[in-house]
Amino acid sequence: MENTELQKIWKTIDSEFYPKSKDELSLLLTSKTKQTINKFLVIMSISILVCVGLLIYLAITSLNRQNDLIYLINNATLGIVTIISLASGLLSWYKLQNKKYNQPLKNWLEERINILSKWLTGRLSKLYLFLIPFLYVLIVLSIHVYFENKSFIDVLNTEESIIGLIIGTPIGLFVSYYGARKIRKYQISNLEFLKDLHNRLCNMC
């Protein structure tokens, strides 16, 4: 088949299209914009709601346990980590969403690979391995100590509490790691896909 013949066949597409009117295009743009804004709002609202809920809980319980210094340190650490995680998470997500697509494919791939690589293989990429158990234990202790109506040290000296922590922690960690690993696996496969495309483009250069 001749090259021009391929182009001729391809050109037949043009005569088959029924273009959308400006009103229809405008409707598509408006609905997609709303959809994207709503998606952002849903994610942001849920994250903020969970974090604010946790912060309120930490503040109330801390006020009720002002004499227990270790409990206050526990809650303050949790609060700080929560605020930092929320802010950095939302900022990274916003950055990725805000990237413009109006550049050559190769440059666009490089930019996206850089952002995802920073998340997934950068200096802080393994932080979640430490943060999940750290936060889990702090949250469990905060709740447990508060509802036991004992001081932090007393609870840690109770045999039942330690046994509960030893049994409960692996189960909680398993669920948390499973979720985190699944998300990470998808993101890494995405990164590999982009890297593969980029490598193939570079092989042409």
Binding site: L6, E24, L197
Partner: protein, 162 residues
């Protein structure tokens, strides 16, 4: 004086064929193509303020359309959060109707067997874009465009023979 949105819709209306064709090359299913089309329109709108920096409107639309489509390939197999898309008159079903054109159907099947990069290069070649335009859209050198097109054409011809 026209508002930026009106200006954008004028351009979109004149160049919408590009959006359909890029979606057609990357997505076999009509719902995926429709979703992709909508996403491309949104990404074009987002980068519309930077259009002044581009030499040609066509190149800008091809670049955004190809980049958007590639970023969506991995997503389509996953369940996404979505709201109901407004029902429009179903004129876009022409994509399926036109597959009745047997030669075009064969050509599309052959294109579907190409990898993502060859698809975009082949599309631009079939659209009769110049090598320098293809180089600008893809981000590779002009000489490499020629090499890649020849390679993609060979694969395409082999696919057509099957």
């Amino acid at each position: 004086m026209k508002s930026p949105k009106e200006e954008f819709l004028d351009i979109l209306s004149n160049y919408q064929g590009i959006l359909y064709k890029v979606s057609l090359v990357y997505f076999k299913n009509k719902p995926d193509r429709e979703d992709n089309l909508q996403e491309i329109i949104y990404q074009l709108w987002k980068s519309f303020p930077s259009l002044k920096n581009h030499n040609s409107i066509g190149s800008w639309i091809y670049a955004v359309s190809i980049n958007t489509s590639i970023s969506r390939i991995k997503k389509v197999s996953r369940i996404e959060y979505r709201e109901t898309i407004p029902e429009l008159p179903d004129k876009s079903s022409v994509i399926d109707e036109m597959l009745k054109n047997e030669s075009l159907q064969l050509l599309l099947k052959a294109i579907y067997n190409l990898d993502e990069l060859d698809k975009s290069i082949m599309l631009l070649y079939l659209e009769e874009k110049r090598y320098d335009e293809i180089a600008e859209i893809i981000g590779i050198s002009k000489s490499n465009v020629g090499v890649r097109i020849n390679r993609a054409k060979e694969i395409l011809k082999q696919n057509l023979k099957k």
